[in-house]
Amino acid sequence: MAGATGGYYVPASSPWPIIGSAGLCLLMVGFARTLNGGGDVALAMFGGGALIIIVMMVGWFHDQIREGESGMYNAQVDRSYRWGMGWVIFSEVMFFAVFFGALFYVRNLAVPWLGGEGHGVMTNMVLYPDYLATWPTNGPGAVGGTFRLVSAWDIPLVNTLILLSSGFTVTMAHRSLKLDNRKSLLVWLGLTIFLGIAFLYLQASEYIHAWTEMNLTLGSGIYGSTFYMLTGFHGLHVTVGLIMLIVVWFRLAAGHFSAERHFGFEAVAWYWHFVDVVWMCLFVFVYVL
């Protein structure tokens, strides 16, 4: 009900959910058809679906922003959003955990077994007698051919420092917001965005270098698979976080949020910290070790 009476805001009927569902359907069908060799029609469906989803997100968030800024959300609604964002981030943690789990299994179990350790002794002797289990590896079949490694202490180290700094800058931005210092807030948040863009730029250039010059691709056996899937999904999440940071920056510039009530900002900051933590795990388990 209306926040004006202190009651919990229950929104009126909204077209955005079904629009979003139709958009998702079109996107998925288009993507699937493209993978099956669908050509232009498939790509058009994919693009159309993506467009519909963007329209949905703009429309839906616009409704929420209007509701929030006009005071319809009370403290209880705020708590619902906190729970929501927290659990979304947890579900993403579980998603990354799958790929880290796969990495752990492959490095500690599958590859040693292929190399003849433990109960893999006969498999190795019969099928892969020439295979030496090391890491990185592209398997007994040397899938994808020889590749070179990305050194952890090169761009990845720089990216680590970038993301750690961006965690600091977003926290400083939050402090400024709570102190109602808008100018300082916009500077700190702008710095965070700049650092995020720098991260993505460096990651992209590293990808291009690795893919074209070092022959490290998705097809480079299990090493390439885990490397690109983990860093790739991470990059995707950084991109999403960056878009959210930019949107919040513009909202703050437009005068949205108050020093006391600004969960939209906090949610994005939480997400950004999550992305940072995932990178730290990546840096340790994918690049260094």
């Binding site: 929104p11 929501g84 109960h119």
Partner: protein, 541 residues
């Protein structure tokens, strides 16, 4: 103006439902969305059921008479995908949507628009899944477990199946988040966690499981996708990967998934049995702890689905012992349901009949589960009809019967009409008889060595297969009675009271039947030391 009138007078949305189809497409009301989920799940139940009929028709006699073997395999695969993701899970979400806000005294779910999105993803996801049956290469036919490398031999359908599952996962995760936020944030002031109805507790715990494991399924099928289209080697030994890796990831999702499908059933049954025994649930807090224990244990037993793949002995032993351990809290719950009835003043209307059948038959399913848990024994049972019998007992006489019990129990509340009791009883008795004709012989088929997922079998299995198939056809036809009951109750029937069942207790029974479109816009008063069944219970009908 009264606070109540002020609350509804000053909001910016309509007091009643939107007109026509907008009400359903643009819904934000938990009751409407609950109805959408339930109707959708019924349609999916019938669809999955028809696939089961095709399966049992082919298995009626030895030989290949009815369908092409490849199509048979796609039927077994799709039957499971539809039933698990399209029938059982959405039905429980529908019951949750309808009942949880009313049970905790909330005006609606925490995030009503997100709620609607969770629902509307599903028809599209299943349209994509079902459309694969008409594609080049047919629908997915590698089993609902989708093991590589066989799954990677799926034709054009492969990416469609994978994306369909991604969509279903999104729906479930968002729904689960909504449920947690509702239960933790929207309870009427003074309603403590240990005062909530058990159905709410079981859903709270189920929601945690959903958020934890649906992303794992997403990861697994994403790896299938990349192995299939982008040249990765997750499941390819030549590249250093391992097909068994998929099994670990899948079952890390898959085992909690089956508990996701049964915990809400425990909740439904825990609501029904006290009502028709006219006694409070025995051992409320123990039931809560047992449910939580089951959920926790469910996360560490996944490899009991993989005992025969060649895991190290230490692993096999761990998973055996951990799996057997789950029987303990589950047994506690069964004892508590029985103890609830002890010295109760009992009547046996249809909801109670289904709930009692659940207790007995689910327990039988649990016993075959303990047999399967014993690793050396499982080496004989694995991939035979013994497994098929086990999971159909826990899912059909377990989850499905609990859903039906819940529907019978709450239909008067939802519609304001009593359902036709005689027809309900006919539905029950025919169902319970035929479900046993259908699935009990499958235990013996499995013990005698009949493998699963085969369209043709050795002649010594013929008699029991014929019996099972007859049971299936009769069980299938019997479910039409259920559809008739529902339609007749929605359309009309004797007026139902607010407290539709004499022994029913809880906030939802304070509301009229049917409840107003928006209920508890002002929260009800909770008596601070109230027994869970007696909260806000004024003297009266």
């Amino acid at each position: 103006m009264s606070e109540y009138q002020e609350a509804i007078g000053r909001d910016d949305h309509q007091d009643g439902p939107a007109k026509g189809i907008r009400r359903w497409l643009f819904a934000t009301n938990h009751k409407d969305i609950g109805t959408l989920y339930l109707v959708f799940s019924l349609i999916m139940f019938i669809t999955g059921g028809l696939m089961a009929m095709i399966i049992r028709a082919e298995l009626f006699q030895p030989g290949l008479q009815v369908v092409d073997p490849g199509f048979f395999n796609s039927m077994t695969t799709m039957h499971a995908l539809i039933m698990v993701f399209g029938a059982v899970m959405p039905a429980f979400v529908g019951l949750a949507n309808w009942m949880i806000p009313m049970m905790v005294g909330a005006p609606d779910m925490a995030l009503p628009r997100l709620n609607n999105w969770s629902f509307w993803i599903l028809p599209f996801a299943f349209a994509i899944l079902l459309s694969t049956l008409f594609m080049e290469g047919g629908g997915p036919a590698a089993g609902w477990t989708m093991y590589p490398p066989l799954m990677l031999q799926t034709g054009d359908a492969l990416p469609f199946v994978i994306f369909s599952i991604h969509l279903m996962g999104m729906s479930s995760i968002m729904g689960a988040i909504n449920i947690i936020a509702t239960i933790l944030n929207m309870r009427a002031p003074g309603l403590h966690l240990m005062q909530m109805p058990l159905f709410v507790w079981t859903w709270l715990i189920t929601a945690f499981l959903l958020i934890a494991v649906m992303p794992v399924l997403a990861g697994a099928v994403t790896m299938l996708l990349t192995d299939g289209f982008f040249g990765t080697s997750f499941f390819d030994a030549a590249g250093g990967g391992d097909p068994v890796l998929f099994q670990h990831i899948f079952w890390f999702f898959g085992h909690p998934e089956v508990y996701i499908m049964i915990l809400p059933a425990f909740g439904v049954v825990s609501e029904i049995i006290p009502t028709f025994s006219r006694k409070p649930l025995f051992g409320y807090s123990t039931m809560v702890y047992a449910t939580a224990s089951i959920a926790f244990l469910s996360l560490i037993v996944w490899a009991h689905h993989m005992f025969t793949v060649g895991m190290p002995l230490a692993g096999e032993l761990f998973f055996m012992y951990a799996t057997m351990l789950i029987a303990v809290p589950t047994g506690v719950k069964v004892f508590n349901w029985v103890s609830t009835m002890w010295r109760g003043s009992m009547t046996f209307e249809t909801p109670m009949l289904f709930a009692l059948a659940f207790v007995v038959l689910f327990t039988i399913g649990g016993f075959s589960g303990v047999m399967l848990a014993i690793t050396p024994a499982d080496f004989q049972y694995h991939d035979t009809y013994f497994v098929v019998a086990h999971f159909h007992y826990v899912l059909v006489t377990g989850s499905i019967f609990a859903i039906m019990a819940g529907v019978y129990y709450w239909l008067p509340k939802w519609t304001g009409h009593q359902y036709p009791e005689r027809l309900g009883k006919w539905h029950f008795w025919l169902s319970v008889i035929f479900v046993n004709v259908l699935f009990f012989p499958q235990h013996f088929l499995g013990l005698a060595g009949m493998p699963r997922r085969i369209p043709d079998y050795a002649v010594q299995f013929a008699e029991f297969n014929m019996i099972s198939s007859i049971g299936a056809f009769c069980f299938g036809v019997t479910q039409l009675l259920f559809v008739v009951v529902i339609i007749r109750t929605v359309i009309g029937g004797k007026r139902a009271q607010a407290r539709s069942w004499e022994g029913a207790r809880g906030l939802e029974w304070l509301l009229p039947s049917p409840p107003p479109y928006h209920s508890f816009t002002t929260p009800p008063e909770i008596h601070p030391d109230a027994h869970p069944r007696e909260i806000a219970h004024p003297a009266g009908p």
